[in-house]
């Protein structure tokens, strides 16, 4: 009787390290200490540090269940009502790009999946073109680009001296890249630093991209979450679109609609003509079909229902403002706690100036380790903390941890 081979074919497969971001939550779960605090992944928590399902999402799901909608396959490009809604949210419904059909929108698996489609497109249709990512950036950007085989390099972004934007370095590196490169930009609430260019700086960045024939690729994961206003947070993207750039925009509804696990987002490509948009869309579909065939329907329907109903849409805006407001509130409390405890005169105001869910504390890896090992504060090793996981009650504790790590650990 034929038996299988004795040794595994996969004996030489090595143990991969845990994901630097998602692995933090796993470590947090395993920690039994009562003082533990999870400031790892960017997932919104209430003041009671509980996960939050938006009320409009509950309402939308109730409506969907009552309507008894079927579960047929979506088209490869996703739910049409969602694609329309997401493009309009991004650019504004009256934007000429939308009116003229100059945009190819394909529903993707949240931000990651949308970035993946865009990157795979670049790998296939612009072979050899380099993508520049900010230093630092969301860790998974590198993995996505590497996996699709797109060469990448970094542009300077974070200035540890000022704990602000290294604007000069950024422009220099954009200038130094080969003409016609792709520049990956965070639309708002830069992850992990929380540092965004000012409107004037955005104009200058656009000037430089235009001069070099570069193509912008925006990662928009926090629209509505940065300032609380959907329109304000889209201003960088809208500015570039109005200047006539051909560009990619990846969107995510994980944070702003709390739909993390539903995996809902979109890849948009803005083009000079509707004909080009149709062609690009058809090629994006060819990348999606052998990856997962067509995207999941549930999250797309939730977004379409919320955006498509003016009452639910207004309620959503209010909930988003509430979430953004709570984060601004903990920033303020944390800042005050640091100020009252640290008499050295160190400038902690970056906590207030940084935008969005995250704060780039400037803590080193060993200092971050100290945060976890001694204080049971879980964060990523690049010094990033998610303020969405902080509440007013823990601000004092966190301030103690940060001061101890900053001053006592080298």
């Amino acid at each position: 009787m034929a038996v299988a081979v004795d040794v595994s074919r996969f004996e030489n497969v090595s143990m991969a390290p845990p994901d630097p971001i998602l692995g933090v939550s796993e470590a947090f779960k395993a920690d039994t200490d009562a003082t533990k605090l999870n400031l790892g992944v960017g997932a919104y928590r209430t003041e009671d540090l509980q996960p939050y399902v938006l009320k409009v999402v509950n309402k939308a799901e109730q409506l969907m269940l009552e309507r008894g909608e079927n579960k047929e396959y979506l088209p490869i490009e996703g739910l049409a009502a969602f694609n329309k809604a997401t493009a309009e949210l991004l650019l504004g419904a009256d934007n000429p790009v939308i009116k003229n059909g100059q945009i190819a929108t394909v529903q993707g698996l949240s931000g990651t999946g949308s970035l993946r489609l865009g990157a795979a497109f670049i790998a296939r249709y612009f072979p050899g073109v380099k993508v520049l990512i900010s230093s630092p950036t969301w860790g998974n950007h590198k993995n996505i680009l590497s996996d699709v085989g797109v060469p990448w390099s970094e542009y300077r972004y974070f200035d540890p001296q000022t704990v602000g934007l290294d604007f000069k370095g950024m422009i220099e590196d954009i200038k130094g890249a080969p003409n016609g490169s792709v520049i990956l930009l965070h639309g708002c609430a830069h992850n992990p630093t929380g540092i965004d260019p000012t409107p004037e700086q955005w104009e200058a960045i656009a000037d430089e991209l235009e001069e070099k024939g570069h193509m912008p690729f925006f990662d928009v994961a926090y629209q509505g979450f940065a300032s609380g206003s959907l329109d304000d947070d889209a201003s960088s993207v809208r500015k570039f679109a109005s200047r006539g750039f051909e560009m990619f925009v990846a969107q995510s509804y994980s944070k702003n609609l709390g739909l993390y696990a539903e995996r809902i987002g979109a890849i948009n490509v803005i083009l000079p003509t509707a004909d080009l948009a149709a062609r690009v869309k058809s090629q994006l579909k060819r990348l999606a079909r052998p990856m997962y065939s067509n995207p999941p329907v549930h999250g797309a329907r939730i977004v379409a229902n919320v955006v498509g109903d003016s009452v639910l849409f207004d309620e959503w805006r209010a909930e988003m403002q509430m979430m953004a407001g709570r984060i601004k509130g903990v920033r303020q409390k944390l800042y005050e706690a640091l100020l009252s405890k640290d008499k050295s005169g160190k400038d902690w105001s970056f906590i207030l100036k940084q935008i969005g869910m995250f704060s780039f504390t400037g803590l080193t890896k060993s200092q971050s380790d100290n945060m976890t090992d001694k204080w049971h504060v879980y964060m990523t090793k690049d010094g990033r903390i998610s303020l969405a996981g902080l509440n007013l009650a823990k601000c004092d504790y966190l301030a103690d941890a940060i001061i101890d790590s900053y001053y006592n650990v080298k």
Binding site: V5, E72, E262, P272, R279, V280, S282, S293, N294
Partner: protein, 444 residues
């Protein structure tokens, strides 16, 4: 704007490989740009891609304004009234999930919902499977069958020495691109015998025997798509021996468990015999059809390996494949499946609903066969009765199919495959008329 567009085109053109538009075209683009800046684009070299051969049938069907049109393209179950079906157990599971205030939408782990993974694996392997008992199994929730195949293929491309997969002829159209885009070379093995309308068993064994040792062999677990021809248990044993003798790696595509015979366990027999011999294999599962969760994209990739140590390391590497693809899988469909599989009453009800769907398809086979016999349509149509699962591989050629679409508004794939699940008592006569006309009148 003009010079801007010119710069961009020149910049990107300089990156293009030799197979891309030559410099002369760059000149031509420049000239075009001068004439009309709005037309100039770095995307100009892109062509409109054709619609997917299977999913594009639905696109064409939707565009057709004709009221009597019938969609027998994609494998999606329809009721007797021609409507999509939400299973009762699915509806009830959704109600329960919505009412459960302890549920939230936090990111799932990279490999998905643990409860779903456990139950999916047990469904295909049996709860007493040695792979489960000995912890030699890793299961990752993926995006339905396609996603499970793709993640498995990507893993193999990175970690397996033989980057070659053999697909049966014919097979589901999307298999090719799934494996190729993952970076594996693709070849085929003989499977369907046109003359007998059955399995080319000798050819299959020959090709498996000739394949380089250690090749990946893609096998349809049951209800072969598109032919509906499955090996008998004896033939499965022969196939298993041939595969193990060459040290090949079997990769099962299980998209129709419960649909082939109406019994979940019977339909899992081939997979279980392979696992029982102690060897390694990959299994891609889909809940699109058997739970009617098509659009929710629920599936699982299971990898059975030789030891739990290997399984742990394999799991860690699967996460590295998944994280840059979509980070973690969607929760809704998996939660439904986990609930149904984990609740005794819901599970029982599910098996009844599943059998109901399988039985309706079988009755459509009989109705179609009877209708063709009644019309005296030339040819032997018994294959419609013998074929297993959702589809019938009619034997109609491309021209005949195009005729049927044009003249009778029957939408189906060009390989002659029809989804029996899309038929009803009302539409059987129309289909029979169309087949009859195609076979007797259409030009070859």
């Amino acid at each position: 704007m003009e010079s801007f567009a010119l710069k961009r085109i020149a910049a990107v053109a300089s990156h293009l490989t030799p197979t891309a538009p030559p410099p002369q075209q760059q000149q031509a683009l420049s000239m075009e740009a001068t004439a009309s800046a709005a037309a100039a684009s770095v995307f100009d070299h892109l062509e409109q891609a054709p619609e997917d051969p299977i999913l594009g049938i639905t696109v064409a069907y939707n565009k057709d304004p004709h009221p009597g049109k019938v969609n027998l393209g994609v494998g999606a179950y329809r009721t007797e009234e021609g409507k999509p079906l939400i299973l009762n157990v699915v509806r009830r599971a959704e109600e329960r999930l919505l009412a459960d205030r302890s549920k939230n939408k936090e990111y799932l782990p990279i490999t998905g919902l643990a409860d779903f993974n456990k139950r999916s694996a047990m469904l295909i392997l049996g709860s007493d499977s040695p792979a489960v008992v000995e912890k030699r199994l890793v299961t990752a929730q993926c995006l339905s069958g396609t996603g499970s195949l793709r993640v498995g293929a990507e893993f193999l491309a990175r970690h397996y020495g033989v980057k070659l997969v053999f697909l049966p002829t014919p097979t589901w159209g999307n298999h090719f691109k799934v494996f190729m885009n993952a970076g594996l070379a693709v070849k085929t093995y003989r499977y369907y015998d046109n003359k007998t309308r059955g399995l080319d068993y000798e050819g299959m064994l020959e090709d498996i025997g000739a394949a380089p040792s250690g090749s990946v062999i893609l096998l349809h677990a049951c209800a072969h798509n598109p032919t509906g021809v499955d090996p008998t248990p004896q033939q499965w044993e022969g196939i298993r021996q041939a595969i193990r003798n060459r040290g090949h790696l079997p990769f099962f595509d299980s998209a129709y468990q419960g649909f082939a015979s109406g019994s979940l366990d019977k339909d899992a027999l081939a997979v279980r015999t392979f696992v029982a011999d102690g060897g390694e294999c990959f299994i891609a599962q889909s809940f699109a059809k058997n739970m009617g969760l098509y659009g929710e994209r629920v599936g699982a990739l299971s990898i059975v390996s030789k030891s739990s140590g290997v399984a742990t390391r394999v799991e860690s590497q699967l996460k590295l494949v998944i994280r840059p693809m979509y980070s973690n899988p969607p929760i809704h469909g998996a939660s439904i499946v986990a609930l149904v599989l984990g609740d005794g009453d819901l599970f029982s009800e599910w098996t009844v609903e599943l059998k109901g769907m399988a039985d309706r398809i079988i009755s459509m086979r009989h109705k179609l066969y009877d209708a063709l016999r009644a019309r005296g349509t030339p040819g032997d149509w018994t294959h419609i009765l013998k074929q297993i699962g959702m589809f019938s591989f009619t034997g109609l050629n491309k021209e005949q199919v195009q005729f049927m679409t044009r003249e009778y508004r029957i939408y189906m794939t060009l390989d002659g495959r029809i989804s029996m699940a899309g038929l009803s008592l009302k539409t059987v006569p129309l289909l029979a008329d169309a087949i009859h006309a195609a076979v007797t009148g259409a030009k070859a």
